[in-house]
Amino acid sequence: MFERISEFTDQWGIDIWNALLETFQMVSISLLLSVLIGLPLGVLLVLTRPGKAFENKFLFNLLNTLINIIRSIPFIILLFFILPFTKLIVGTTIGVKGVIVPLVVFTAPYIARLMESALLEVDKGVIEAYEAMGIKTRHIIWHVLVRESRPSIVLGLTIATIGLIGATAMAGLVGAGGLGDLAYRYGHLRYEVDVMYVTVFILIILVQGLQTFGNVLSARLKKN
């Protein structure tokens, strides 16, 4: 038994480790960029809707439609669909660099939606109280709106991250590697089922760990 394990580790350990690192790399970079784009978009969606501080029908409808359109496209199609755009932005369409762009395009609108629903939960009375105290709108956005919705934001980001891990499985198609790619190429195409089982197992642990971490963090931020 132990022999088999050490044999497996000798043969696949390095590959799995590298794939794991690639997945981490892709997920963390695209998550960071997606939050940087998605959070402000979510705030904008909340502020420009009818009856809110910066009511702007045109901008709201534009954002709303755009986000819906992008979110209708499955990642695997999006990946190829925006190849010219990817090339324009990072100069290449392959490797980790090439897959970050479609991952961000895929995730940012999703995060914007999650942020929107999180921010909409904030009691508008508190916002009114801060307006009444003569506090600038940008401070209200950060210190009331975002602050009060942190528990929901964390849960939303957990969901987004898990979705992102799923999407990176397809990154192999443009040679970016990662766990999903490893499982597909070796496990499926070369019938190395052990590799498939191990990667799936790692993915399960990863997702479980993330969700638990997200839940705990959210609960700690929530004070009621």
Binding site: D123, G125, V126, E128, A129, Y130, E131, A132, M133, G134, I135, K136, H139, H143, V144, R147, E148, R150, P151, L221, K222, K223, N224
Partner: protein
């Protein structure tokens, strides 16, 4: 201190137009506690939001401390708003921040120095009696305590005016009493002018100097509390006052008595409450007064008594008795003159 001039507010939705405020003018003197009372939908919430321009008037002018607000830039308006505190029915605290942070964060955002913030938080938490709750979260506090935090938050900006939007409506009677006492204390100690809106006459009775009664976006009656309480003119004001005295007479009884004489409500204010007037009318006129129900209550500064009395006697004698009562400074309500007195 606060002056609203001919304020009109029209809310326009797709299907209809609502006149939330219809030519409302109001003047709140510096250092007074002014109550605006009305049923829900009367426009009082919109009215109080005019003072710090949370709602912009469709037309009319808003003056606070002599400054006209409707023409100010956002930045200038923010400066003015910092001197106008506000508390709400639902407290509106940050749920994710401690009591200390709830007071400190707005101060920080308005540019108060770190040291000053600390001093003020401690000072005003002490004023509201919550010095041992610094690190509690709002969810760990009772309704009354949350409102105290909100009051401390408002006071920490050292405002000249405090607006109270149904501040006690979500609280139980006992807690309401303690919050009202606190508001009165704030008014006395810091000289802060208070404008409060409420649907409970009891709130007006307890702490207000002046009161305005609102209905359908208009102020239908206003004046000092004693005047309105002893001589209400509008039906709405009368109804609010009834809610304090509970001096409704059973209908059957009214039916039985009305053939033998009139039923009148007498309001006694100040010195008139000391005189034995009923004894005197029965002696001087051919009238037999019998007390159906009576009540005395404490307004902010003086007591106010109400008696519902049945005056048994001939029309002429009753008329003379009523005139006598009025001359003694008693407000008589519900009397229907049946004969003309030749004086």
């Amino acid at each position: 201190m606060i002056q609203l001039e001919n304020i009109t507010k029209v809310f326009q939705t797709k299907n209809n137009v609502t006149n939330a405020l219809d030519d409302v003018s109001l003047h709140v003197k510096k250092g007074s506690i002014y109550g605006v009372i009305g049923y829900s939908g009367a426009g009082k919430s919109t009215l109080v939001r005019m003072v710090n321009l949370l709602e912009k008037p469709t037309s009319g002018k808003v003056y606070v401390d002599g400054k006209e607000l409707t023409t100010l830039s956002t930045q200038k308006l923010n400066q003015v708003r910092r001197k106008i505190g506000m508390i709400f029915q639902s407290f509106n605290l940050l749920t994710t921040a401690t009591v200390y942070q709830n007071i400190a964060i707005p101060l920080k955002l308005t540019g108060v120095s770190q040291k000053e913030i600390h001093n003020r938080v401690l000072k005003y938490l002490k004023v509201v009696g919550l010095e041992d709750k610094h690190d509690a979260y709002p969810s760990q506090l009772s309704g009354g305590q949350k409102q105290r935090v909100a009051i401390a938050r408002a006071l920490s900006h050292e405002p000249e005016v405090l607006l109270c939007d149904e501040a006690t409506s979500a609280l139980d009677p006992e807690t309401t009493e303690s919050i009202l006492s606190l508001l009165e204390q704030i008014n006395r100690e810091f000289g802060i002018t208070i404008l409060l809106i409420t649907h409970e006459m009891h709130v007006v009775q307890k702490i207000c100097n002046e009161v305005a009664v609102m209905e359908n976006g208009r102020i239908i009656e206003k004046g000092d509390v004693l005047g309105i309480f002893s001589k209400p003119k509008s039906a709405t004001a009368k109804r609010f006052i009834k809610s304090i005295f509970h001096d409704e007479i059973p209908e059957q009884m009214v039916e039985d008595l009305k053939d033998k004489g009139q039923i009148v409500t007498l309001s006694f204010v100040g010195e008139s409450s000391g005189k034995p007037v009923l004894a005197r009318i029965s002696k001087q006129f051919d009238v037999f007064p019998s007390i159906l129900t009576g009540n005395i209550t404490q307004l902010k500064d003086q007591p106010l008594g109400r008696l519902v009395v049945h005056l048994e006697g001939k029309a002429y004698e009753t008329a003379k008795a009523v005139l006598f009562l009025q001359q003694e400074g008693i407000h008589v309500e519900g009397y229907v003159p049946e004969v003309k007195l030749s004086v």
